[in-house]
Symmetry: C2
Subunit: 227 residues, 2 copies
DNA sequence: GTCTATAGGTGGATAGAC
DNA sequence: GTCTATCCACCTATAGAC
């Protein structure tokens, strides 16, 4: 994280930052070498080529994320607490490394020429299915609404923190902090909100949902014509 | 959208698709020319350089999105209906042009070397503030919970559909459809879910929120130690 | 308006000295 | 292990014929 001992780590650190900020295609080998304080040709001593280096960066990153997410679940003792814990872990991880979420976002977006399919699959398996299971458990216990798809609910829950950090500049503008993005305490406040928002949506009694002129559970997708 | 009449539009269409799928840096002028069915040198007759072309693509796109979002609000007659209408509009726009959300995602992520700050600002002003105002209106009317930051709630609401489409491959894996992403009917189902999820979170009575051993409104951020 | 040809520059990757 | 020097491919952009 600071003053890496060996050259290999220095290169990985520099590459992680540059790939995150500029993207794979826009980052050059020479830039990485310069940022790592070594000659660019040296990269080929440690890594086969640019793409291999990129994959190693991704692997290191996602492995850490999976571990952090798993830990969050291990510490929880109830479905609700698990969700709060996960959102908190998301917020902590994303906030501590401002450029990491960008790299993941790029990877998701670039996924046609996918580099990290296996890691994403693992992330899905480890974190996501556990979150789904937590939601199902809450439903069985009667704490959470049963008329809710657990998988969809899990996506909605996770999406909030991810979006907040990925769309950082846009969120900054929206909240009136400029393109630099919101300050850390706003990020923490949003993390608390995100957990509350998800819990509220999960625990709301079914009667509280549809009670307006708009068609809610009807199959028709036509919105009412102007009267 | 299909068989464009003039060359300029053909180039813009081809560029939109390629920039979306591969990103700005990874897309070459020659690829765009080939995809548009014209010689690559011709691009410089219509556009000053690659970056200008990119900006025009973005402008065309975001202008359309802003218009679609505004229309969604105009058709609504209640705060709840407005939210459903907006989520529906999001889903329709994102689904009809599968590669567009990626381009926007890239732009958000790439925002350090920002190309679209002005457009994002406008999008924020036009859509986001209207959504916030709708939420406030619902709060005043007693339909929505008052112990909720309208801006945060707006972000949470919007994040769901955006994340679903941006993280398409990951979502596909998660839901068991493979990296190609979820089929259209799953996307539609999620859109209905997203609106419900947001409305449920907004309308839940305050009493329904904190009722577990975990510290909820207390200031302490320490999670309970293992017993 | 659309093409051919090409200049000018940069990037990924290798050879080989130290 | 780390560096210098360099090759080759390819990319942006321009010049100019048609």
């Amino acid at each position: 994280m600071s003053e890496p001992v060996d050259t290999r780590t220095a290169i990985l650190d520099a590459a992680e930052r540059l790939f995150s900020v500029r993207g794979f295609a826009a980052t050059t080998i020479k830039q990485i070498g310069a940022a790592a304080g070594v000659n660019s040709a040296l990269l080929y001593y440690y890594f086969a080529d640019k793409e291999t280096l990129y994959r190693e960066v991704l692997g290191r990153l996602l492995t850490g994320l999976i571990a952090a997410g798993g830990k969050a679940f291990d510490e929880a003792h109830s479905p609700e607490e698990a969700i709060r814990s996960l959102v908190r872990a998301q917020a902590a991880t994303l906030a501590s490394t401002p450029f990491v979420p960008r790299l993941i976002a790029r990877e998701l977006v670039d996924n046609d020429a996918s580099h990290a399919t296996q890691h994403i699959t693992k992330l899905a398996a480890e974190i996501f299915t556990r979150l789904c299971e937590m939601i199902r458990e809450g439903q069985r216990a009667g704490i959470f609404r049963s008329n809710l798809d657990p998988q969809f609910a899990a996506i909605s829950t996770i999406s909030q923190m991810v979006y907040f950090h990925i769309a950082r500049p846009a969120v900054g503008i929206i909240l009136g902090h400029g393109t630099a993005g919101p300050p850390p305490d706003t990020a923490r406040a949003f993390a608390r909100h995100a957990a509350d928002f998800a819990i509220a949506a999960l625990t709301a009694p079914p009667s509280a949902i549809p009670r307006t002129p708009s068609p809610t559970r009807s199959r028709s997708r036509m919105s009412r014509r102007k009267a």
